[in-house]
């Protein structure tokens, strides 16, 4: 029973008992005291009226008292409400003024609240898929996720957002989201990258002429003064030439790498199998002693820049060719695999392979995972290929095992 009901019973009960007693006793007393029936009637009436007056005063007082208590409670409530609203407003204004989009959903991803910066399109279609990817698993472990996602917008081009997803309670029934538009920052980064590429390109370019002099005049020495050098001297000259060759390859590699970024990607139909076969043929002609089996379908059609993709395939096939050099039964395979998330181009070889622990270094220019002598190369081919694939909006990754071959996979975005 609630306190209010109990109080009501007590007051009503008390009044019942008190008033009942008064009526019973006072009536008897007055009756015993006054004999005259007329006088008794008058006294009874006055007594009754007096009872009503006292009762009404008591009721009035009781009600006034209860109202006061209630008013005080109401005032407290209102004060709390004002404070709460002020606090809520402070947070809402903070979120609305910030460049962030913030929103909360239930465990199934249905919106329960969104800040002014939030727009429904952030959680629709492809955007929804991108934002919710992996959230269920993370939520189960009470983890938060953060990643850069390219989201589409109704009033403009696609933009990169830094998106945080985190559990908003500890029961998995509420998910918090915060998304920040990176457009500005990404632009800065890409501007820096462009400037860096221009610098690398300019320097590499200017190094070519002096390098030509280096190799040219060393050759002149060898040709015109060769007989004046003893074996040691001739050896030194040849070492100079070797070093110059290496330098030349490095410079060409840098030029190619920085050149890729400055080019715009033209989208045309390109057949990667044709390029692959051409490159294998060219390698066969230049190294006829090698026995290599090349397996690829009649065509691998993709859409992209013909020149850039040519470079990419040449690098990948070249790597496969190089790292199967110590096998008599070398096998290089190229194929297209249709996957849900998008078609993958796969290039695999049964060559040397490498330790996956160092896989993250693979795409860094000039990092090589094998000793210089055995496998000549500048170590920049993969960096160039990665940049080309990324320019097309695709991803590239490699799987390998030591002694178990290597597989390169990429998507075309």
């Amino acid at each position: 029973m609630s306190a209010g009901l109990r109080l009501a019973f007590v007051i009503a009960g008390g009044y019942l008992v008190g008033a009942g007693l008064w009526i019973a006793v006072s009536d008897r007393v007055v009756a015993a005291w006054i004999d005259d029936a007329a006088a008794l009637s008058v006294v009874q009436t006055w007594k009754g009226l007096g009872f009503v007056v006292v009762s009404s005063i008591l009721i009035g007082m009781a009600i006034w008292w209860f109202e006061r208590v209630r008013d005080r409670h109401l005032e407290d409530l209102r004060e709390t409400e004002v404070r709460l609203r002020a606090s809520e407003q402070r947070f809402a204004r903070f979120l609305d003024h910030s460049p962030l989009a913030a929103w909360i959903t239930d465990g199934a991803g249905e919106l329960t609240w969104g800040s002014k910066g939030y727009r429904p399109e952030l959680m629709q279609g492809d955007n929804r898929r991108a934002v919710l990817a992996g959230v269920e698993a993370a939520l189960a472990e009470q983890r938060s996720l953060v990643s850069v996602e390219r989201l589409s917008r109704r009033d403009g081009p696609d933009a990169d957002y830094l998106v945080y997803r985190f559990p908003a309670d500890d029961r998995g029934e509420s998910i918090g989201f915060v998304a920040a538009d990176l457009a500005e920052r990404v632009h800065d980064a890409s501007q820096l990258r462009a400037e860096l590429d221009a610098l690398v390109y300019a320097v590499s370019h200017d190094l070519r002429a002096p390098l030509r002099s280096l190799t040219g005049f060393t050759t002149a020495l060898q040709e015109d003064y060769g007989d004046r050098f003893d074996e040691q001297g001739a050896h030194f000259l040849s070492r100079i030439q070797d070093a110059s060759e290496t330098m030349g390859r490095l410079i060409d590699g840098l030029l190619e790498l920085s050149g890729v970024s400055s080019q715009s990607v033209k989208r045309k139909p390109v057949d990667l199998a044709v390029i692959g076969r051409q490159e294998i043929e060219r390698l066969r002609r230049s190294m006829p002693h090698r026995r290599v089996e090349a397996v690829m379908p009649a065509s691998i059609p993709v859409s992209g820049d013909p020149q850039l993709l040519h470079q990419a395939v040449v690098h990948l096939v070249g790597n496969a060719w190089k790292y199967t050099a110590d096998r008599d039964d070398a096998r290089i395979e190229m194929r297209l695999e249709r996957k849900e998330a998008g078609d993958e181009v796969v290039l695999s070889d049964n060559g040397r392979g490498f330790d996956m622990a160092y896989a993250h270094k693979l795409f860094t220019p000039f990092q090589r995972l094998h000793g210089e002598k055995r496998f000549a190369g500048t170590g920049i081919g993969l960096a160039i290929t990665q940049r080309i694939i990324q320019k097309h909006g695709g991803r590239i990754w490699i799987e390998s095992q030591i002694g178990g071959g290597t597989t390169v996979r990429f998507t075309m975005g």
Binding site: A209, P210, T219, G248
Partner: protein
């Protein structure tokens, strides 16, 4: 006779050496910038080479301007001009052809390749190709 327009002394020396080694041409004249080149081709006592090897990056007057002026003059309009330059910029290649270059060759880095390129150019343009100079 060949006119070499080249400002880099090392490249000049290596080009001359290659031409000599491969026994391609009797006489080579060298201009070290665009002004000299135009003087030699269009000025008093002008020469009439069978081939011009033209670098683009020249002081005073650049290679593209030289090319333009050569093609603008009746006397040198048909002169075979091979652009031999370090630049691989698409704009330079396109502009060179648009201004009337007969060929565009990027100077190789490695001297062996460079020497071979010079030899091929010399053999083709001076021996195989029929020059418009009919005297």
């Amino acid at each position: 006779m060949l006119l070499l327009v080249e400002d880099n002394p090392s490249d000049e020396e290596l080009t001359l050496r290659s031409l000599r080694k491969h026994n391609i041409v009797n006489e080579v004249v060298v201009a070290h910038d665009g002004v000299e080149a135009l003087e030699m081709l269009l000025g008093e006592n002008r020469i009439e080479p069978d081939l011009v090897l033209l670098d683009l990056k020249l002081p005073r007057v650049g290679g593209l301007e030289v090319l333009q002026k050569i093609r603008a003059d009746e006397r040198t309009k048909m002169l075979p001009v091979v652009v031999l330059t370090s630049s691989s910029q698409d704009e330079d290649i396109v502009t060179s052809y648009r201004l009337g270059a007969n060929s565009y060759v990027r100077k190789p880095v490695r001297f062996s390749d460079f020497s071979e390129a010079v030899r091929q150019l010399g053999v083709y343009w001076l021996l195989v190709n029929e020059s418009p100079n009919r005297d």
